[in-house]
Symmetry: C2
């Protein structure tokens, strides 16, 4: 395929994407396939000779779509949202075309620098303490990771490296393996200090944990993977109080801030902690601006070595929505969750299982776990809406997460109508 | 931006991308900016109100392009290639629109299943031992990782987990920390068994290392990040001999197989080794097909938890190029490298510093490191072509890697003309 054909096929693909997203709610949100369905639909080996683009495109509906869980359907209420916006998609197209690998400043200065500046923009939107902002002379700053798990791993390795350096400073002869074998990582059963857990969007008390960590020189990493996006709204920012005690902080704009996956943003109070933990200096990565540009090479310092030009997505989204547009988006999802919560509370057969703080409602039928498990199975087998469960204090609980960008009040009400209709069936069949 | 505007802007972006790639060789391949150049070109904070798309797009040339190292220019000979093809870009657009997160089979069956089948297609192209193919009943199989470093980390953790299980089987009372503190990872100064090192594309003798690893029950991980793509050609497949001793194998189609970043493919002989190392079973990820679908959940088992629909890129590329098209592409790059090698060998002032096996030529002026460092600096300051160095046995060596999809013989000859012209200048100025 040459550039001329790409001009044509690319435009067809743009229409295909717009068609898909405009009509997504007509599709069953959850696929009706059995494991292994796909293998029988395509050949066992790659073709020897090229196929035509038409051949490939018609297989999208035949092979792929029947097996897709449609995360961007307004009837998708499972897990947590994953972001999808048109500005982010446009930026990602450009990122793919530039196709640079930003493992050092010199490997593509724009890639490294835009990332640093976008992390500052976002840090300021969240009103992070000044320590976490790179600016032109700051000691802290942010980098984009692929996932919150990656950010946690990076924080863990940086913490280990800092602890080893601290101990070696007072006891230089001590073998490093002896030090590392004695290090301890403290976590809850959701790991590290979490703002907005996955099961129920619960919040750890970081204003209590923080001072202990600081006094004991424990690296404090805060994970706000889902909830973090909401902190751009002044009314939700208090949830982040205690951030002033943290060494590193992470959340996922690719969840709830309209920046398509992957974009997991991580800030550190001291960039040197990351650089110290991951420094690698092969000759082929050295460049003239190594020293003056050192702080830009923070991206390189983060173990994965190769990174895409991911900050373009942030730049397009932040500019085309503006801070107000992003705040409106967050608030709308929270309002929709509150609307669902009211519907649940108004029905005496149901109960709310955890505080509804943001866009997640944990609820259940009053009664046994069995009846709730059966209800959830019926809901998902209907394929009209999709939810997943969680376990809270031994109870089987249904999670209703407002996810899609296009979810409106009418979808929430339709979902509730379906849930109550199925609940009625289930309660008639089973002893509650 | 709604779907209607996306239809318009998306098509404009397709043209912008085609224009960029068609005219890329007119741009200086290496940017002429100083560290910090970008911060002064854009505001210090995100805008409160939305900006227009026109505002954003015109900043691509004003803000971004001056700081881009153009990896897809036919005059880019630095590092190793990073893939860029039109079919992969089209697939990535679709992947962005579907925007599913494939952390379990149920989270999007098509995503998990296409990945497993594409890994089989590619494994068969490489003629991997049957053990590494999932098929319908195999014990092995492949998963896509983001980078070769991630694959190495995953292999290391799986190896550790297997070693711990082996020792616990014979000594169940032994504390796990006692076992892990005694584990050893063997590596060369390029780490693990490498086929095609980054500095010089050198090959470890895996037919010698392999039997020792097997006899000693050492997990053998083979990293062929760059070279792996060439193994689809029968004439280069012998470089992979010894793979039959490996527990895991990885290479990057996102380097040299026309599948845009990120797509680092990793196979294991026993999927259970990965699943055992990474198993996580929160209730919100359980699904009805958990058991029958277990082997599809191998993707989930790999620590990052969240994955994009990356196999679409492989599917589009393999079908639209066909195996023959991909082989032709590899062979063309190797021929271009051989052509460059001949030009170097025909010039008595230069020497070849390492065997030219694939698309990388390591060469230098006969003489001091200083004269070669000066030559490289002149080359890169010219911004017409871009190379990076490496160090081989204490010598400063220039690396000439054939990288771009559109590189032709005329670009190689033009590059050589420039290099020899600058070499002449340097040799007149400096004692050789």
């Amino acid at each position: 395929m040459d550039a001329a054909e790409f001009r044509r096929r690319g435009k067809e693909m743009v229409d295909l994407i717009a068609d898909y997203l405009e009509n997504i709610e007509q599709r069953p949100v959850y696929p009706d396939v059995e494991p292994g369905y796909l293998r029988s639909l395509i050949p066992e080996e790659a073709p020897e000779e090229p196929e035509t683009y038409e051949d490939v495109v018609k297989d999208i509906e035949r092979v792929i779509m029947p097996g897709v869980t449609h995360w961007h359907s307004p009837y998708f209420y499972a897990y947590f949202p994953t972001a999808n916006s048109f500005p982010a998609m446009l930026a990602d197209m450009l990122s793919g075309a530039i196709g640079c690998i930003g493992f050092s400043w010199a490997a593509s200065p724009a890639c490294t620098e835009l990332e640093t500046v976008m992390m500052d923009w976002l840090g300021k939107m969240l009103k992070l303490p000044e320590d976490f902002i790179a600016g032109t002379h700051g000691q802290g700053g942010g980098v984009i990771q692929g996932t919150a798990s990656e950010a946690t791993l990076v924080a863990l390795l940086a913490a280990r490296s800092r602890a080893v350096r601290m101990i070696l400073a007072s006891d230089p002869q001590r073998p490093e393996t002896d030090i590392t074998s004695k290090l301890v990582a403290y976590s809850s059963d959701q790991f590290c200090a979490t703002l907005g857990t996955t099961p129920s969007c619960a919040f750890d008390h970081i204003t209590e944990l923080g001072p202990i960590c600081n006094a004991e020189k424990i690296w404090m990493h805060i994970d706000a993977a889902y909830a973090g996006s909401s902190f751009i709204c002044p009314e939700f920012r208090p949830l982040l109080n205690g951030i002033e005690f943290a060494d590193s902080f992470n959340f996922n704009p690719h969840k709830w801030l309209l920046v398509n996956f992957d974009c997991s943003t991580m800030w550190v109070r001291k960039r040197s902690d990351l650089i110290g933990a991951f420094k690698m200096d092969p000759l082929y990565l050295k460049h003239d601006h190594q020293e003056s540009g050192r702080y830009f090479d923070i991206t390189f310092s983060c173990y994965s070595q190769s990174i895409r030009f991911r900050s373009l997505k942030m730049w397009f989204v932040f500019r085309m929505y503006g801070l107000k547009g992003l705040q409106d988006y967050i608030r709308k999802h929270v309002e929709l969750a509150k609307e669902f919560e009211s519907l649940v509370r108004a029905d005496q057969r149901f109960e709310i299982s955890a505080d509804v703080v943001l866009g997640l409602v944990c609820f259940r039928l009053k009664g046994s776990n069995e009846v709730n498990e059966t209800l959830l199975k019926r809901i998902n087998n209907g394929r009209k809406i999709h939810l997943v469960p969680c376990q809270l204090s031994g109870q089987f609980v249904l999670r209703f997460a407002v996810c899609a960008r296009t979810t409106e009040s009418r979808h929430i009400r339709e979902a509730w109508r379906l849930i109550t209709q199925l609940a009625e069936e289930v309660m008639q069949e089973l002893p509650n």
